[in-house]
Symmetry: C2
Subunit: 151 residues, 2 copies
């Protein structure tokens, strides 16, 4: 018997992985109908709609390496969703602005996210959702303390 099938159901770590992967797949399928991807949608909502966002601040907000973000931004530029402009306050810096099309797609992304959120709330007890948030908060806290594997 392999270890995984045996112990899957009560292990928070692999449950988180599997659930996130299922959500990502669902969002990616929906995004494809609008000629974008989940990473593009996620980037669209991570850019300040009025003032743009410095390219260096987007990756950390999203928890992405700069290489991965770079690839996404190139694809978004090709799709005419963003513009890159020099940062007036920083000679070497770049500000990413949404185009008109980018703003339109961003509105769709937010609509989809809200729709899923509403569905989740309509099907799951409020008190269970609160417990869910306490658990994930606590898991992140345990990891951030940085000594899970120390002793």
């Amino acid at each position: 018997m392999d270890y995984l099938n045996n112990k899957y159901s009560n292990r928070a770590d692999f449950v988180l992985r599997q659930t996130w992967k299922n959500i990502e797949k669902m969002y990616n399928s929906e995004a494809a109908l609008y000629d974008v991807t989940f990473p593009i949608g996620f980037t669209l909502i991570s850019i300040d709609i009025e003032n743009g966002s410095p390219s260096t601040s987007i990756g950390p907000t999203m928890g992405l390496e700069s290489n991965s973000l770079s690839r996404i931004l190139n694809s978004m530029e090709n799709k005419n969703l963003i513009m890159r402009r020099p940062n007036p306050d920083d000679g070497r810096g770049i500000i990413i602005y949404l185009t008109k099309l980018g703003i339109e797609k961003r509105e769709i992304v937010i609509k989809k996210i809200k729709h899923f959120k509403k569905l989740v709330r309509s099907r799951i007890d409020e008190s269970d959702l609160e417990a869910f948030h306490r658990v994930t908060f606590k898991i992140n806290e345990i990891i951030e303390e940085g000594d899970v594997f120390k002793n």
Copy 2:
């Protein structure tokens, strides 16, 4: 204001993503001390220790595309953690077996997973963890029904 920072704290989907990413990073750091990676560790525990596992069954168990799995298996073969053998019951099939070193590393992986699980259980209420599992189960159920974005 960007949408994300505003709404982050009560959105199950992005909380799942962020929490999973933090867990993956933690496991990857620890894995590096043993000259492996999280995906290698995950593959080690997905292979049947006695009978090996058909290469075609490992990917689906892990929720991985065959391309990604292929890359991981090549790296594991280079590190002498697995052997590929023809499947006697299927002329074109391959069975993946763990080597002695693979079995040793697998034991370490299981120890680390159990350690984190124990820590999580010692710090989080049993009833909250049960609610957490109810929520993730329900979210997966909602997605599997396949009509989140229909109508």
